[in-house]
């Protein structure tokens, strides 16, 4: 039966996440926006709580890193399922309504944790359990074209030796593990790209610098050099075979699971902007009226309605992508649609709200200007707007990446 409301049994989870956002994130939002590179120590206690939420199993979403493993178990009935993908997306929306930067630097909730949860075998899962893992994909010469990475991995006895340079590693300084993408054979293309779990304490993994950014300043963004960085061969995630048929699928499948999460982050920031702006407009005597057409009221109301309509679409696309994952339906198309729509909506709405609120929107006395800076990253990482459009277009048009470049 068609029903697009928040599932009843996730209501407590959503309320809990909202409380965390309200009581923990919002009060320290500005503090760590100003104190870039300073570790938000307030999060340690919270992380323990989130671990507890995630341990609640199916239905308890946590902040996003735990719940992206696809289970084939189901409930046996073959019926409609609302599982951890949907619950995670819902809780990420709430937490990012609080603060995206803080969510991104939540201990043990890194993208590397997502990768491990998605593709690690049971032995690895156990070995890396409870550790905070960052993800290192991008290189100075390879951004969106991640197949072009140059970091190499060479097997030497029982160890792989990694050499190369990695940038834009979220939580790279704070995490305990870094999942590094490297190629076993640069001439073999995508199929040779594998991911390796590297201990942060590994002497071959050298921290170069931390970036100074437009937004999400609470979250550290690191650059590394890998110099003869030796990792046990058991730290390779997935199969060590270079299978040209399987191609990029192995490492890329993580993205089908994480893109709805980034979309959810954008949905959360968007809602924060709209709620704040609605309150400011109300103070100015402008109420949002859903009955009258936008053209019948003030320009501000009309603008607000247009922005909220885009928000509604972005939110529902995000829930759709997660719901499909829960029900084992292929969702690569919908995941990219959600990411594209939510990413651009976040930026458009945040900038629009700043405009509507004038100097209150621009000034650091309020959080709108921060959200407008934070929002931009969500249309960039985990695949830019343009990459999402490419993925969507290729699927719709039946084109390969060689045909539609």
């Amino acid at each position: 039966m068609i029903d697009l409301e928040t599932p009843r049994r996730f209501a407590p989870l959503v309320a809990q996440a909202n409380q965390v956002a309200t009581e923990v994130f919002r009060p320290i939002s500005r503090k760590y926006d100003l104190a870039e590179h300073e570790y938000p120590k307030e999060l340690d206690m919270l992380a323990a709580l989130i671990d507890g939420m995630s341990a609640g199993g199916d239905g308890a979403g946590g902040a996003g890193a735990a719940g992206v493993r696809r289970k084939a178990d189901g409930d046996g009935s073959g019926g409609n399922r609302n599982g951890s993908n949907l619950s995670t997306v819902l809780s990420v929306i709430e937490l990012c309504w609080g603060d995206v930067g803080l969510l991104l630097t939540m201990p043990r909730q890194g993208l590397g944790n997502s990768a491990i949860a998605s593709v690690a075998d049971d032995e690895q899962l156990e070995r890396f359990a409870g550790k905070w893992a960052a993800m290192a994909i991008t290189e100075p010469e390879a951004g969106s074209d991640s197949a072009a990475i140059r970091t190499t991995a060479v097997l030497d006895g029982d160890e792989y030796v990694l050499n190369g340079e990695k940038i834009y590693v979220t939580s790279g300084e704070r995490a305990e593990l870094v999942v590094v993408w490297a190629t076993l054979d640069r001439s073999a293309g995508r199929a040779a790209i594998k991911s390796f779990v590297v201990e942060r304490s590994n002497p071959g993994l050298k921290l170069d610098r931390l970036e100074h950014k437009l937004g999400i300043r609470a979250s550290d963004t690191a650059a590394f050099r890998l110099e003869d960085c030796r990792v046990p061969k058991e730290n390779l995630l997935g199969s060590p075979e270079v299978d040209t048929k399987q191609g990029f699928g192995g490492v890329m499948q993580t993205f089908d699971n994480t893109r709805p999460l980034v979309a959810a982050m954008a949905v959360g920031v968007t809602r924060a902007c709209l709620e704040e702006t609605r309150a400011r407009l109300a103070e100015a005597g402008v109420e949002i009226d859903y009955a009258r057409p936008g053209t019948a009221g003030s320009a501000a109301v009309d603008r607000f309605l247009a922005m909220e309509a885009d928000y509604e679409a972005a939110r529902l696309l995000t829930l759709q992508a997660a719901w499909m994952a829960d029900n084992a339906k292929p969702n690569s198309l919908q995941a990219s649609m959600a990411k594209a729509k939510a990413g651009r909506t976040g930026v458009d709405v945040a900038l629009g709200c700043v405009e509507l609120c004038g100097s209150l929107g621009l000034g650091e006395s309020e959080l709108l200007e921060k959200w407008a800076r934070d929002a931009k990253i969500l249309d960039l990482f985990e695949g830019t707007q343009q990459i999402q459009l490419l993925i969507v277009a290729r699927q719709l048009l039946g084109k390969t990446s060689a045909e539609l470049r």
Binding site: I2, E5, L316, M337, K341, L390, L404
Partner: protein, 442 residues
């Protein structure tokens, strides 16, 4: 028929006859179409005004002890779910096949003729499209009321053609209004005709001809005179106005929200004018003019309660969103093979990002429109408030549908501008759906 001269009646019949003739394929065979269209154009330009359709006499078929209602949808499972149920899937498939095989091939002709082919309207009645909102106790086909089902059917039909869909759905919207808000007398008087062999044409009308139209600030007035209501005003873009035998008319009662009135076409003081528009032309739109139209006290629907009118406006918006989604999907389905087959500079134009990204954006916005529309409808079915969701779906569809219509033409370039391809019609239809208020209901 008091208040109407024979001449007026025959003019009404004349317009109906032209309308009907224009819809027939026989016109093409004998090469008469252009001449008839010219006549129609002149008629509309000169403000060709006629009496409303003579119409049948509606009489209460029996006495009901109370109004019959479809029961609300089951409370639901409390789970997020995008899967239509079995009954909805069957309807979707049946209407989808009808839209593809019958409606789409007739779309161009119906657009030119400003009329939907009567045999298609008859077939859509046979599919039960007109009685989705009629309680089972009164001969309807659905025990439960479901705006979601209404959305799925309207979308599937509009994938064939928006104008024909509007023409086919218009009478059913009057039946739905009577099913939702009619009292026992009103239901007994009108609904049997809708479930009978020759259901009447009928239309619900809210829209008025002026800029910045607001359905909550109507200029059409309903004045109390003793027990009677007296209505005056002008309604715009009323589907099948010339042949409709019964109308539901929105009018301001002075204080508070406007109310809905059941008005039979033969009532004195009613006249109609052709008002062909940029889009949804197959719906044979026109103006309904009310001059001191006197109605009995029992003509008002839902005891003039404000929430009845609000729900009517919102349900209409959801219905137009559904048409927008259907037509937008038609655009997407049409441009994909086109950009793959069309070559320029030695390769398919779909190999260019400027083209491919436009296609991707159509798909993304369309998906958002569809989900927002379904959410509004499903909230209505669950008895939740849906004013916000209907407004957001409407806003989204109004903005994105027009854009999708424009992009559909743009992707075909010059070919998109000529009538050899349907995208120019969708351009017109997709602009129209964001402007319409009332007229259809889910």
């Amino acid at each position: 028929m008091p208040g109407m001269s024979t001449a007026e009646r025959s003019m009404g019949l004349g317009l109906r006859a032209i309308t009907r003739m224009a819809g027939s394929e026989a016109l093409d065979r004998v090469g008469l179409r252009r001449r008839v269209e010219k006549a129609l154009f002149r008629a509309s330009r000169d403000g060709f005004r006629t009496a409303a359709a003579a119409g049948r006499t509606f009489k209460a078929a029996g006495r009901l002890t109370g109004p019959a209602r479809q029961r609300p949808s089951e409370a639901g499972t409390g789970l997020f779910d995008l899967e239509p149920d079995d009954e909805q899937q069957m309807l979707q498939e049946a209407v989808g096949a009808f839209a593809a095989e019958q409606v789409r091939p007739a779309a161009s002709g119906a657009d030119a003729a400003c009329a939907a082919p009567p045999e298609l309207l008859a077939q859509s009645n046979e599919l039960g499209i007109g009685v989705l909102g009629v309680p089972e106790a009164l001969g309807g086909v659905m025990a439960e009321r479901s705006a979601v089902t209404g959305v799925l059917v309207a979308e599937a039909l509009a994938h064939g053609d928006v104008g024909i869909a509007a023409a086919a759905l218009a009478p059913g919207s009057v039946a739905t209004a009577l099913g939702l808000w009619g009292d026992a007398d009103q239901q007994a008087t009108y609904l049997p005709a809708f479930t009978g062999d020759e259901p009447p044409a009928a239309a619900l009308t809210v829209l008025e001809p002026r800029p910045l139209f607001d359905p909550f600030a109507l200029r059409t007035t309903a004045r109390r005179d003793g027990d009677d209501w007296v209505l005056s005003g002008v309604k715009s873009l009323v589907p099948r106005v010339a042949e409709a035998e019964v109308f539901v008319v929105a009018a301001s009662t002075g204080g508070g929200a406007p109310a809905l009135f059941v008005v039979e076409s033969k009532t004195a003081g009613l006249s109609v004018e052709a008002e062909p528009a940029m889009g949804i032309r197959a719906a044979a739109t026109g103006r309904l003019l009310l001059e001191e139209v006197r109605l009995p006290a029992g003509a008002v629907l839902g005891e003039a309660a404000p929430d009845v009118y609000e729900a009517c406006v919102q349900r209409a918006r959801i219905a137009w969103c559904a048409l927008a989604v259907g037509a937008a999907r038609a655009v997407l389905d049409y441009v994909i093979p086109y950009v793959n087959e069309r070559t320029a500079f030695g390769e398919p134009i779909s190999h260019r990002q400027a083209v491919a990204f436009a296609v991707a954006d159509v798909a993304i916005e369309l998906e958002g429109m569809s989900l927002a529309t379904l959410r509004a409808a499903s909230r209505a079915d669950q008895g939740r408030s849906f004013a916000r969701e209907a407004a957001l779906a409407r806003r989204l569809c109004a903005d994105k549908a027009a854009r999708i219509g424009s992009d559909g033409v743009q992707l075909l370039g010059g070919h998109g501008y000529v009538k050899e391809h349907p995208v120019e019609r969708w351009y017109r239809d997709l602009r129209s759906v964001g402007v319409m208020e009332g007229a259809l209901l889910v």
